[in-house]
């Protein structure tokens, strides 16, 4: 969920179209219908040393894919709100320009190789970073000088694990990525071959990262039932906050001098809102909304001091405004009702977060037992 001027930008249950909804008037809304026949640049992103981009071999298959089954996976808006980028399930990356007259023009459609997990713009919307489920991160230029925005992607760095979140530091000096192992990697930008630090200490997957708008402090959410704050440039843990549940997605925003707002979804299917005091690192639970929410389908954003949360409850997408004074969630829009997309397709089901936990598989103990038995029998002889 993002903002374009006074409009909330989001996808509905089917993830087929973008909706723009005025925050002042629910009746004022418009839709961006995607032209799925837009020509794809089939050149694969550059891996490692390759000097030429290979074309995808099964290009014919790709085009033959049923249009009706393609859905929007990730999307993001540039800082200046002029560009909209999204990835779709057919592994193409769309770059679009939002015009003032409520139209969106597709600029390019480029291919990527593996299921995407995260998409982010760099500062000024000059580059797009795309992290995929196998752990690789690619950069795509969005520069309109010299048709760069049409060119294929380029590999920049990777994890030996699934990347779960990617955030760009507020001062744009580094890219922070977290993975299904317990790692948070702080990579220098633009010198992406240099690792500034690892933020280590989590004991399970790190699903979400957010920057507290204060010097060099980042917060992470992990399957080990903790939120931690870090001096991320030094890889130093500052604070550990423990919960009786697993925090899944976190967002933060500064609300007034010295205070931040932290919104978090959890595996007990609730959304929690906290106030965070920078000076003392204290946090206060402001409110909680819950039962049957999908922790994976949770969105949060602030515009003009209005706090918006989007969540999926009992198969209904809902947007609420969180009232800071009364600490209450007030219904703003029932997305499922208001935007019954005129499309065929299935309602999107978020994946099950419990799959991120690793199965324990001990292959040491059986060997040690056999060895002990062998040695004992040798002694007996």
């Amino acid at each position: 969920m993002e903002f374009y001027k006074n409009y909330l930008v989001f996808t509905s249950d089917y993830k087929k179209k973008f909706h723009f909804l005025s925050i002042e008037n629910v009746k004022d809304n418009w839709t961006f219908d995607i032209d799925w026949s837009f020509v794809l640049n089939p050149k694969k992103p550059k891996m490692f040393l390759e000097s030429n981009n290979e074309e995808i071999e099964n290009k014919a298959d790709l085009e033959a894919e049923k249009e009706s089954e393609e859905i929007i996976n990730n999307f993001t808006l540039s800082e200046n709100k002029e560009l909209l980028a999204f990835t779709s399930s057919d592994k193409s990356l769309f770059l679009c320009k939002i015009d003032n007259d409520k139209t969106v023009t597709i600029l390019s459609r480029r291919v990527f190789m593996r299921a995407s997990s995260i998409l982010r713009f760099s500062c000024c919307g000059k580059y797009l970073f795309l992290a995929d489920k196998t752990g690789d991160t690619f950069v795509y230029s969005c520069d309109d000088e010299g048709d760069e925005y049409l060119s294929s992607g380029k590999w920049i760095f990777g994890h030996i694990s699934q990347i779960l979140d990617l955030q760009i530091a507020p001062d744009f000096s580094c890219i922070v990525t977290s993975d299904r192992d317990e790692k948070i990697r702080v990579t220098n930008y633009p010198d992406t071959h240099e690792i500034e630090a690892f933020c280590l200490g989590h004991k399970e997957f790190v699903s979400s990262l957010t920057f507290l708008k204060k010097d060099n402090i980042m917060m992470s959410a992990s399957g080990d039932k903790t939120l931690r704050t870090w001096d991320y440039r030094k890889g130093k843990e500052l604070q550990k906050i423990e919960f009786p549940f697993v925090p899944i997605t976190i967002y933060s925003s500064s609300i007034r001098e010295g205070f931040g707002l932290i919104a978090m979804s959890s595996d007990d299917n609730k959304i929690y809102i906290y106030e965070y005091k920078f000076e003392s690192s204290e946090y206060i639970n402001l409110s909680c909304i819950g039962e049957n929410l999908y922790p994976n389908e949770f969105d949060f954003n602030i515009h003009d001091n209005k706090v918006f949360v989007k969540y999926l409850k009992n198969e209904h997408l809902q947007i609420d405004i969180f009232d800071m004074d009364n600490k209450l969630f007030q219904p703003f829009c029932n997305v499922s009702e208001t935007f019954k997309d005129d499309v065929e397709g299935k309602i999107f089901k978020p994946f099950d977060v419990s799959l991120l936990f690793k199965k324990k598989y001990d292959n040491v103990k059986p060997f040690i037992n056999r060895k002990r038995a062998r040695i004992e029998s040798q002694i007996r002889k």
């Binding site: 630090a197 280590l200 200490g201 292959n363 060997f367």
Partner: protein
């Protein structure tokens, strides 16, 4: 080993520890590893020895040499003999093979009191957990001897020298530290040297500098793999890169 203490100390026999040469570095096999390198110093790592437990008289010294995929440990032990004051660690992913090296070191220590206290082996997946063991710039030498070639193009990502991991190796190596590679597969040698040369944090030593390295002959002859290649009259390819 506990039960073996009852009998006289003997070096372990390799035939009880044989295991196929390949392992999937991406899979979710269970490993015990420290959540943070500090846990090895203060002894708080769950189900994992601290540096003090691995090396009986480590004192204030830090582990500086790492042999990644140390196999049966032939080179690791020779490394410890060459640098008696330096602490060296071998990392091996295969259960039986790493246990062999541990038993071998324990037997060597028992047979040669006061010696071999500067070498140890841990079972771990160094491709995933290397940075859980070492702080930034802690290592001065890293060894990649006869790594699994993973011939198929789709498996190239599994190679232990790849551009993603080179940045991690540059992170744990101090400036001026050395990274050694040896293989008997020419294609892999080309791949490793090409990627290392292309990485902005590494620079290859000149041929003269490589030959002058005190470990040059040992690298080509002292590991089990090297001896196997020797017996088969195969070729061996070595490269040394400096962290810049």
């Amino acid at each position: 080993m506990d039960t073996e203490k009852a009998s006289e100390v003997r070096l372990p026999q390799k035939r009880y520890y044989r295991q196929r040469a390949h392992s999937n570095p991406i899979s979710d096999h269970s490993f015990n590893y420290p959540a943070h390198p500090n846990e090895l110093i203060d002894g708080t790592a769950e189900n994992h020895e601290s540096w003090n437990e691995l090396y009986p008289n480590i004192g204030d010294r830090k582990c500086e040499f790492a042999d990644l995929g140390c196999g049966y440990g032939g080179f690791l032990i020779s490394l410890g003999e060459t640098f008696p004051d330096k602490i060296s660690i071998g990392m091996e992913i295969r259960v039986k093979v790493s246990n062999y090296v541990q038993d071998r070191i324990e037997a060597l220590r028992a047979l040669n009191p006061g010696k071999y206290n500067n070498v140890a082996c841990v079972r771990t997946n160094s491709m995933k957990y290397l940075t859980n063991y070492f702080h930034k710039g802690q290592l001065s030498k890293m060894f990649f001897l006869y790594p699994d070639p993973h011939f198929k193009k789709s498996k190239h990502k599994w190679r232990i020298i790849n551009p993603s991991l080179l940045s991690e190796y540059a992170y744990v190596l101090r400036k001026g530290g050395l990274l050694y590679t040896v293989t008997d597969v020419n294609d892999l040698h080309q791949w490793m040297t090409q990627h290392l040369s292309n990485h902005l944090s590494f620079e290859r030593l000149t041929l003269e500098e490589e030959k002058a390295d005190i470990l040059y002959d040992k690298l080509l002859n002292r590991s089990e793999e090297a001896q196997k290649v020797e017996r088969n009259h195969g070729e061996k390819f070595l490269a040394i890169f400096k962290r810049v």
